[in-house]
């Protein structure tokens, strides 16, 4: 249950941050969202088994499911890479990380004075 509460809180916070103005806040939202997804993956392996899944570490029936741990490990790396890229996008594109003008900008860029 505690893991469900944690996932719920993280997701709520993530959705709130997605709707915010600055790009950095959106990136923070994505970090929380990927945390939620990773916790979810852990939960999928049944968190009732809490011992380290290492050979000889504990009795086999007490060890945690190693497959979701491998999934999470993969997902963390992927999310980290994309987060780094998004942070770069936040600081390189305009003078600030504001995203409010994006609502009209594609049309402006495509039809407006490009030169």
């Amino acid at each position: 249950m505690s893991i469900a509460v944690a996932v719920g809180l993280l997701t709520a916070a993530a959705v709130y941050l997605f709707m915010q103005r600055g790009m950095v806040r959106i990136v923070l939202g994505f970090i929380l969202a990927s945390h939620a997804a990773n916790l979810m993956l852990f939960a999928a392996g049944n968190v009732a088994y809490r011992e380290v899944p290492y050979i000889g570490g504990a009795a086999l029936e007490e060890q945690a499911d190693p497959l979701p741990q491998a999934f999470v490990l993969t997902a963390i790396v992927i999310a980290f890479a994309i987060t780094m890229y998004m942070v770069t996008l936040a600081i390189t594109t305009t003078t600030d990380d504001d995203t409010e003008n994006e609502e009209e900008s594609p049309a402006k860029v495509l039809y407006g004075e490009r030169r």
């Binding site: 993956l41 999928a44 049944n46 994309i82 890229y85 998004m86 996008l89 936040a90 860029v109 495509l110």
Partner: protein
């Protein structure tokens, strides 16, 4: 196959050759795969050679390796994507984009991700390969779209990361409810257990975002026009189409073609067809019209998943293959104009039929094929789609499909009359020269028309200069920009005239989707 991507960094000119060589190799390899799988055989391989483990209860075994499976559908999609890759890279080489640092490695990693996503038989591995496919795309879309600002890249990355996270959550739910992520072992799991069906629904929702199905299509129309034409053409055939492939594969295996949920798909695809095409009519640049058409066509392709009959799936797979070619051809032919004249705005162009007859023919062929007129492959595709919907007595879906065709033709005619017919705008030549100089640093000889005695000047234009050039100096779309689009247009005519071959291959692929038991057997017998 993807390992080649990493090797392509050092030598300057060798990059072109290595990249093209790899793409051609992928093409040759996929043709081979199509030939092998054309009789319905499914190739399966366990990566690492891990054999299934016996857990001791009732002799049941569990797969532990990642299976790589190739059936007719994945082989066909891979073949078409490799054709698109070749054409788009040819185009990018012609526009000198391919000289950019990391362009070729990005494209090759993209192709590696595509090949992996098409072949894998494991949902988590599918997620990983989709990321492998997306990461170089983020690079490409921002790199080549730099002159348009990076807003497109921001939206693209955000939405795709969101969808990927949702996909990950869906996979977690599938694993929690079904206990495995191996597609073959998941066969029919959603049919037996509603909990798995909900988990599968989350997965399908996430993939639908990537396929830009209607309630979640806005990101595509705002990002694809915001990069270079070559990249748009490349992406048009890859990301959404791999997502469509994944939808078909997962619905066939996990849901076993469950008929209870088909009405959802039918409503969604009808909305997609309609809203996509209506959006296209409202747009003002060639590329944004074509991007909205993409959405509308994704609706057509997904009709197959809403019918799940032999005829419906065959038609939809044919439509998928036809559409990837045609769309890329359209992006490349209008992209050639955009790259040469510096704008894709319909208002600022005109008279291209006289000026660029070859492009006009290329565009016309692909546009008529898109709208579904007889000599081209689009006719066969649309005809069989509509026949399949009528066979299932979904008359309203058929009606939507027919009406949308009319609108498609309408907006294609809008491009045609705006860009190719009519008079050339007076400043067309001048704008093209300015654009060429700005983009490629090319200097053109200009004649000062205002001066009493014309003086030749070399250099950036001023408002008073007017280019009065002799025939050979006139800005024209170079042949190397026309060829890739024309090549693809030729393929659509070939598919239209010789539809029989592709149709029978599509039928084999459809058979594989309808009877996932063969797939499961192939994986367990690998």
């Amino acid at each position: 196959m993807g390992a080649a991507g990493a090797a392509v960094r050092k030598n300057k000119l060798a990059r072109h050759i290595i990249s093209m060589g790899t793409l051609l190799a992928i093409f040759a390899f996929s043709v081979l795969l199509v030939v092998v799988t054309s009789d319905g055989t499914i190739l399966a391989h366990r990566v690492g050679g891990w054999t299934p483990v016996d857990v001791g209860s009732e002799g049941q075994t569990f797969e532990i390796a990642i299976p790589f499976v190739v059936d007719a559908l994945s082989a066909l999609v891979l073949m078409i994507i490799s054709i698109l890759g070749i054409a788009s890279v040819m185009f990018a080489m012609a526009t000198h984009e391919a000289r950019a640092r990391f362009f070729h490695p990005f494209v090759l990693v993209l192709m590696a991700g595509v090949a992996g996503a098409l072949m894998t038989g494991d949902i988590f591995n599918l997620f990983v390969f989709i990321e492998v496919m997306l990461l170089p795309s983020y690079g490409l879309i921002a790199m080549m779209g730099a002159k348009l600002g990076a807003h497109g890249a921001r939206i693209y990355v955000s939405v795709n990361l969101m969808a990927s996270t949702l996909l990950l959550v869906g996979i977690a739910l599938v694993y929690a409810t079904a206990g495995t992520v191996n597609l073959a072992e998941l066969h029919g799991a959603a049919l037996d257990d509603p909990a798995v069906a909900i988990a599968g629904g989350v997965v399908l929702t996430a993939i639908s975002v990537k396929a830009a199905v209607v309630p979640v299509h806005g990101w595509l129309t705002r990002t694809y026009p915001m990069t270079s034409p070559a990249v748009t053409a490349l992406f048009s055939g890859i990301h959404t189409k791999v997502a469509i492939y994944a939808i078909y594969r997962i619905y066939s295996l996990l849901f076993d073609g469950d008929e209870r949920f088909l009405w959802v798909a039918l409503i969604v695809v009808s909305a997609t067809m309609l809203i996509g095409v209506l959006g296209a009519i409202g747009e003002k640049t060639t590329r944004s019209i074509l991007v909205f058409h993409m959405i509308s066509q994704i609706g057509y392709i997904l009709i197959g998943v809403g019918l799940f009959t032999t005829l419906g799936l065959t038609a939809a797979i044919f439509y998928l293959l036809h559409h990837m070619i045609v769309k890329a051809s359209l992006f490349l032919s209008t992209g050639a104009i955009e790259e040469t004249y510096g704008t894709g705005e319909i208002e600022k162009l005109g008279g291209m039929l006289r000026r660029e007859p070859l492009i006009a023919i290329t565009f016309m062929a692909a546009a008529l094929s898109l709208a579904g007129l007889p000599p081209f492959s689009g006719f066969v595709a649309k005809f069989s789609i509509i026949r399949a919907t009528l066979e299932e007595t979904h008359y309203w879906v058929a009606a939507v499909a027919v009406i949308v065709s009319v609108f498609t033709l309408l907006s294609m005619l809008k491009i045609w009359t705006g860009v190719f017919m009519g008079d050339e705008p007076k400043d067309l030549q001048e704008r093209a020269l300015t654009y060429q100089e700005r983009m490629h640093g090319k200097r053109y000889l200009r004649v000062e028309a205002q001066a009493e005695t014309p003086t030749l000047t070399v250099g950036p234009p001023t408002s008073t200069t007017l280019a009065v050039l002799s025939g050979e100096q006139e800005v024209k779309v170079p042949a190397k920009l026309i060829i890739p689009g024309a090549l693809l247009a030729a393929v659509t005519i070939f598919f239209g005239v010789g539809a029989e071959v592709l149709m029978s291959l599509s039928a084999t692929a459809a058979e594989g989707l309808l009877n996932p038991e063969i797939y499961v057997e192939a994986v367990s017998g690998a």
